[in-house]
Each structure stands twice: as C-alpha cells, then as structure tokens.
Symmetry: C2
Subunit: 504 residues, 2 copies
C-alpha cells in the first residue's frame, strides 16, 4: 500500500536511544498521575538529561528580562525593569532587521552575537585571538556538529570515514554518526583511572579501525581526571576564580593539560580533525581547576601545532549554568579550517535557515554578562554563583551518598553537570534483563522509574563496554530535589539487590 514503505537504506540502522524510550515512559507515568492514577509517588523526577530547568533550577533573571523586553518592546518603558535590562534589549533589537526578533538573521547568526562570542573567547583564552568570521551560531551545538560531520564524511567500505569517539560518549552522538554515514571508532576511557584517557588508547583504537574504515576526525568530550583534585576547596575557589575555569565532561571528570597536549599531538601526527565538545566549560568546580580550552593549549604548543591542527569547538546555552535548553542556540568556532570549507559550513547552515533569535540573544548575554557597576551585575553574579554552589555541593553530596551504597562505585567528580556511578548488579538481574531483551542498566532504570518515579539515564546509551553498568544523574538540580532522588534511589537500590538475591 505505501510507496514509502522502506526508508532510505542509509538510515535504516538509526534508532532512538533508550534514553528517549525512558523519557517517553516517564511522560506516560506523569500523564497517568495527572489523570488521578494512584502510584507510590506523587510526581516523576526526571534527572536523566542535562535539563536543569525541568527539575526546578531557576532561569537567570537578566537573561529572561532582556528577552521579555525584546519580544514585547512596550516593556522598554517599564520602569520596574532595571535600566541595563532595557538598554541591552534596545541594543539587541537595534541589531535585528526592522528592530524585531521576528526577522531572519544571517545563517551564521547576528554579526553582533558573533562579535560578542569572539570577544568572550579571546578573554577566556588569555588573549589568543578569536575572530567573528570563525564563529558560526547555530540552533544548538548538535546542529553545528552535524554540519562539520556532513562536510567530513565520504567513502564506502574500508574507506568510509571514521570518527574516534570516547566511550562513554554523549547519547546523541551514535545516532548522529549513523545519520551522516560515519563509522563510530570507539576509544575507551579508563574508569579505574578516574576516566583518564590513557596515552596508548587512541593509538590502539586507530590501529584496530584499520581495515574497517578510515578515521578522519577525533571527537573529544569526556576525559582525564586531574591528579589530586578534590572538592574540598571548591566553594572558596568558586567565589574567587574567574567564571571560566581544565576540560570537564560527561562523567564529571576533567582532562589535564598534559592529556590535552597528547591528544593534539596525536591529531597532528594522524592528520585528524578535532571535534571538541566544550559545552561544560563553565561547570568546572574541582579544587584549583580552571577550564583550559583546546584552542588555547593548541596555540601555546607553538606554530608547529597552532597553524596546522584543524579544530572545531562547540559550546551552547543548554548545558551550562544558564541551562536554557529550550531556547536552542550555541556556537562553533573553527580554527585552521580552509576558508573554502568554511563557505560550505555556512551554506549548510543556510539550509536550516537560521538559529532562533531568542536563543541568539540568550547566547549573547551568556558570553557578555552584566559588568561590575551595571545595575544587574550583582544579581546576575549572585544567581550564577548560587547555581554553581548548588552544583558543586550536590556533586559532592551525591558522590558521598552513592559510594556508601552496596555494589556502587563512583569516581570523584570535578566538572560537568552529571555524576556517573557504576553498578555491580546481581547475575540474576543481568539474566533477567537479557531475557527481557534489555541491557541490565536499562532494566534498573526502568524499575527505578516504575517504583519510585525517578528517571535516570542508563549507561548503555553512552556506549560503555558490555558487563559494565552505569547510571547517569544530572546534579544541577535544587538540593531538596537531589535529596528526594537520593532517598528514593537508596531504598530502591537495596530493594533491587534484595529482590534478585532472593532468586539466587
């Protein structure tokens, strides 16, 4: 009956990750609760993804005030709004065609936002220059990453493009590689070494890929834990250090400068394009740690590298402290990329038309916040600080709680917004999951959701090795919410272990 019975053969392998299935199930439970169905819990708490507003982290007032004025410029005359809010809104409206956020922008974003991002990066990187024409604004970092993957992809069979990809990796990445027709070449992070990238691992992964595909790019996200780091002095640091503080990750761990240098040397030797996810750059809270961008390290390694290694760095308004996932905006900075290739990047962004203007405005504020002396500076700084303290305290609290549970281990966390504990599950639970056609950490997460109304991420979706089970929790959430989650998780966990040991 259908003429479109079978989709594009290239896409047949694409699958929604277990994360989406869990979240869909979580929404169904919420709908049942709203219809009055009785459950052992009154609401579902979903801390599976990096969506901090979902569980109650408040938006940053200045961001929202400026946006409300930009959308409804009558508010320019509203004296109850701080004057710098109205000035910023007026300035930003002046950058929009026709003074309306309803107009299209260039496909790479508003030139003013590109300039603000370039200034922010230059400041962050101790003066290593950034230029507006290298900044591409997109509707989130994923869109820009897709553009670069599309430009890099080519070949079939043994010459099909491969992308060296960390395990664990962001859950959206395997699907994206499948969509563009690239081969995922896994490299392992060593959990026992605090999620370190061990020096020989990239080389091993590259060698193992020979005969299967041709790696052309290296994706970096979740890496090395610095030696001797701890959270003990984190709060003092937060108050005194710059807001831009080594390289945080999916697993809550931060890459050392030495490790970044190894990666850059490897990329240079193997002529790999570096795709660097730096979306957690404002979420580093380990003692004495500062965020260090790949670009800065690259430039400090001398001309041999700084003029040769091609790099795309991604950042967004979604995953950081401001947590504006729903507004959809991010940027990509291209370094050492052939100008002809940059034209293609812009052209591909054109087919998506342009990033939403409301997101672009939030991005501009994130990179160019109120300055000392501005009426909103104190409140803005306080709100950001409050979120950062919540994050750091929650991470410590969650870590301490989790390592106290039987069968749970967890590496210390120093950055990012997630904690990624490992579960030693009873063989009976693993067997049960197998007979249900599930990974054991999905079974665990589903049971936790059904019994306690708590939705966590399952480690399998991050591409971890078989027989290693993890769950992922977003700790950028109100402390009271975290306490509820930990209480539920604690009692569920004991019950889960108990239930399966009964079968043993």
């Amino acid at each position: 009956m259908y003429s479109l019975r079978e989709v594009n053969p290239m896409l047949r392998g694409i699958r929604v990750s277990p994360q989406w299935a869990l979240q869909r199930h979580s929404e169904q439970i919420t709908a049942l609760l709203q219809q009055g169905e009785q459950k052992p819990f009154k609401e579902v708490i979903d801390i599976s993804s990096g969506d901090s507003h979902r569980t109650g982290i408040k938006p940053i007032s200045f961001v929202r005030q400026v946006l409300s004025v930009c959308l409804y410029p009558e508010l320019l005359h509203n004296d109850t709004l701080p004057v710098d809010v109205r000035q910023r809104a007026q300035r930003l409206l002046g950058e929009c065609d026709g003074g309306s956020v309803g107009s299209y922008t260039d496909s790479c974003g508003l030139p003013h936002v590109q300039r603000s991002v370039a200034e922010f990066i230059t400041g962050r990187d101790g003066g290593v220059p950034s230029y507006p024409h290298n900044i591409f604004i997109s509707a989130g970092s994923q869109i820009a990453l897709k553009v670069m993957l599309k430009l890099l992809v080519r070949g079939k069979g043994v010459s099909q493009m491969g992308v060296l990809t960390p395990q664990p990796c962001p859950h959206t990445l395997p699907m994206l590689l499948e969509e563009v027709g690239a081969v995922l070449v896994p490299y392992q992070l060593s959990e026992e070494q605090g999620w370190a990238l061990e020096p020989g691992e990239l080389h091993r992964a590259l060698t193992a890929s020979r005969g299967h595909c041709r790696p052309r790019a290296l994706y970096i996200c979740s890496l090395h834990l610095m030696q001797g780091s701890s959270l003990l002095g984190a709060l003092n640091d937060i108050i005194t250090i710059s807001p831009y503080c080594p390289f945080p990750s999916l697993t809550g761990h931060v890459q050392s400068r030495k490790s970044i240098e190894w990666v850059i040397q490897f990329a240079a030797e193997e002529r790999l394009f570096l795709l660097v996810n730096e979306v957690y750059q404002d979420c580093v809270y380990g003692e004495g740690m500062e965020f260090m961008s790949y670009k800065r390290v690259l430039f400090e390694m001398g001309q041999q590298y700084s003029e040769m290694v091609e790099l795309a760095s991604f950042h967004s308004i979604s995953n950081g402290i401001i947590g504006e996932c729903g507004l959809r905006a991010g940027y990509m900075e291209l370094v050492n990329v052939d100008p002809a290739v940059m034209v293609f990047a812009e052209t591909l962004l054109c087919t998506d038309i342009s990033a939403p203007v409301t997101g672009q405005i939030a991005l501009e504020i994130m990179v160019n916040p109120p300055r000392p002396g501005d009426p909103s500076h104190s409140k803005y700084t306080q709100e950001i600080l409050t979120n950062r303290i919540t994050l750091a305290q929650n991470a410590q609290r969650a870590w301490e709680f989790l390592i106290g549970l039987p069968g749970v281990s967890c590496q210390p966390v120093t950055g990012g917004i997630f904690i990624y504990p490992r579960l030693s599950l009873p063989p009976e639970a693993v067997e049960q999951a197998r007979s249900d056609g599930l990974e054991a950490d999905v079974l665990y997460s589903q049971s936790l959701l059904d019994e306690e109304g708590v939705c966590v991420g399952a480690g399998c979706e991050h591409g971890q090795r078989e027989d290693k089970y993890h769950i992922r929790l977003c700790v950028l959430t109100p402390s009271a919410t975290l306490e509820k989650v930990l209480a539920c998780l604690g009692s569920f966990h004991l019950h889960f272990l108990d239930q399966f040991s009964q079968y043993a």
Copy 2:
C-alpha cells in the same frame, strides 16, 4: 596543509543562492551607510524575502505579550497585561517541564501544541479529522521537509531519487535537494496562463526524467490561477470570510480545486509522495477564494485516494500574516504514511533535539488565537485584519504600477505575499550580464540595489527558464515602504532601459 581540503564529494555542488549574495551585499551597503558613507539613498529597503518584520510590519501583540510573560513569569502579576494573555502564558508554562521555556520538549514538539495544531486543521478542513500523533513540530517548515526528503532519498545513477519540482520554486529548495542527494526534476508553470499547471506538464516532466533518475515525490508550491479571479472584491471578502481561506504560492497565484484533483490523481497513478508547501494558507485574498488544503481535497475524492495517497503538508509561523521568521517554528502533518516511517521521522527530528519553545508557543497562538469574548480577541483580529488589508491593497497597487512600466508584464496576484513580474530586458543588458558572468535578472537586481538601495529577489534563483527574467518583491510591507520601493523601482527601471538602449 589542510586535512579537510575537499568537502564531502556529495556536497561539492551545493551553492549559496544568488539571493544570499544579494542580501549580503545589501548588508554591506547598510554598514557603509552607518559608517557615514554618502549614497543617493539613506537606507536599504530589502523586500527580497518573505520577511515582513524586516521592513516594518508589526508583530501581533497577543503573540508577543504571551511570549514575554512565558519568558519572564514575574509578568504574570502585571495588571497592565490583559488577563487572557496571562492565562494563556500560565497554561503554556504549565505544559513546559518545570514550568520553564528553558526545558527541552519532545523532539516532535510539546504535545499540547500538537493537539492545538490538529484541532486547527480539523476545523480548517471542514471536519476531516487530524490527529496529534501525525503532527511533527519542527524549527521551521524547511527542517521537516529535509527530514522527509532524507527518508525518501535512495539510489544512484538512473535509480537516484527524483523530486518533481515546479519552476519557479522556492529559492531554498534546489540547495536542499542537492544536500540530501535528490535529483530536481523540473516541471514548468505556464506564466502565460497565469502560472497555471497545464494538465500534461507533470506527465511530460516525468517522461523526460526517465533514464536520468527515478522520481518518487512531487513537490507542490506555486500553482494555478483561478479563472476570473480578481482583487476587486477582495477587501470585502477579507472582512467577511473566515481567516482560513484555494492554494496560494510563490508567484502570487492560487491553484484551483480541479487542478489539485489532477495533481492528486497523477500522484496516485505514479505512486508519488506528495510534499505540499501550504505556508501561505492564511494569505489568500482573491475574490471569492478560500484556502483549500490538499488533504481536504484528497479526503473529498473518495477512499480510492483518501486511503492511498501519501502526503506531507508543511506550514510555519514565518511566511504567513504573523511573520515570525526569527522564532523558527512550523509543523508537518503526515497523511497515509506508514507508521514505521513516522517513527523514523521522529528519530531524525531527535538528532536536531527539538524546536525552540518560543517558536512553538507562537505556533500555538497562530493556530489557536483568542476567541470572541476574550479580552484580546478584538485587538488580535484587528491586527491580523490590518496586515491582510495591507497585503491585499499592496498587491493590487504593485500590480497596477508594474504593468504600467515599459517592458514589464505581470500576472494578477490572488494569494501569497510575493509579486513576481517579468522583465523584457534589452539584448545589450543580457549581453552585459553574460560578460559579467551573471544572469540578467541578477544584474538588474544588483544595479537596483547599488543605485537605489532597494533589494529585490532575482528570478533565476527560482529556477526559471533561460531568457525569461523576473524579479520577486514581498508585498507584505507597510504601504509607505511599498510606495518608496515602487518610486525607486520606476525611476531605476527607466534609467536601466535607457542606459542599455544607448549602447544599441
């Protein structure tokens, strides 16, 4: 030096359309004016694209008021905002996770917005049912179209997927087909017959494509002019008819029901997937005309068609009367599509994460405006009506002016937001353009921009036949702006003809 010297071979043919080059040039001129450079004009007026806010059409207050409250919920307590604004905002915030527009939504959009769209379509189509699970919310209609093209595409050489595409077509479409790897199979609209689609043309185009590719889809956008239609009674109609009023287009012409039936029969016979661009559905103003959706006609043609022809219909907040291009949202309704294919559509939307929530909110209001009795009903209706009257009057005014110019012909317009006059250019101008490596209508548009500061679209980018030159003007603009444009265009046109006849 570069490892990424050559981009993906599949993408090498992709080019930015001349429209973007013109708009970039237009922005450069604006920047020079702002730096104090002297020009014969004080500002650039860009009516090349369907971006009505850019030239001064005002946003609809209710849309913006609700958005400002959703972004800054403190405004829920602001008594100067109408109560239905605050109620709507509260309702919509209740649909967002954590009550924040900063949270991610499902990749197909907020379920509440899907339900509102389905109710709107059911009402519009006289009760032909629409279901929320067939509605896919995306960041603009282009994104959803790209998803469907990606699912349809396959094959190489003579079996590569072809898409029957009208000439003229939207300027973004050729680039999109190139990106996904589909072959553009052109079918011609007959300008002499008022941009009618002549019955045998689809068959001719399909036959001509054999041996080159395998057409699997038919894209519809710009079609037939109804017999005897005129604008004379348009204003009265606007005041009395429903806001949802045959099928308007890129060229300002509206397809008859009979023509829609032919297209559906052809699609059924040839098993083509119908991709229907209905983004101008609220911009039909020809006398006695009402918008008629492809879906409604399909369902009224009986089971033989209504249960068989696969169709995707696209609509957005950008191109209609509300003109919210910058907020980026639209929807796609799938009809008769295999449920397994719909799962893939959702999965592909997942890789873009989700549509911006601010755009989704504007979409919800567009399809579910204030009702009679609501405090904002009168103002909302008046603002929409004002824009529609401006559009209808401008279209008539521009048409009358353009047909009065030597060497210009123009079919009457009855819908959409553009007028698409044809230029008979002197052979010397055509020769000059050729020696400059340009299409003659691009030369014309560039000269108009340089001399008068008026930016119009060049017809070549819509894929018109060689030696037929057109320009495209958006007439959804304030009447005073249109008058300036026409005055500049009139004097430039005479000068342009004069200049080239001197060389003859």
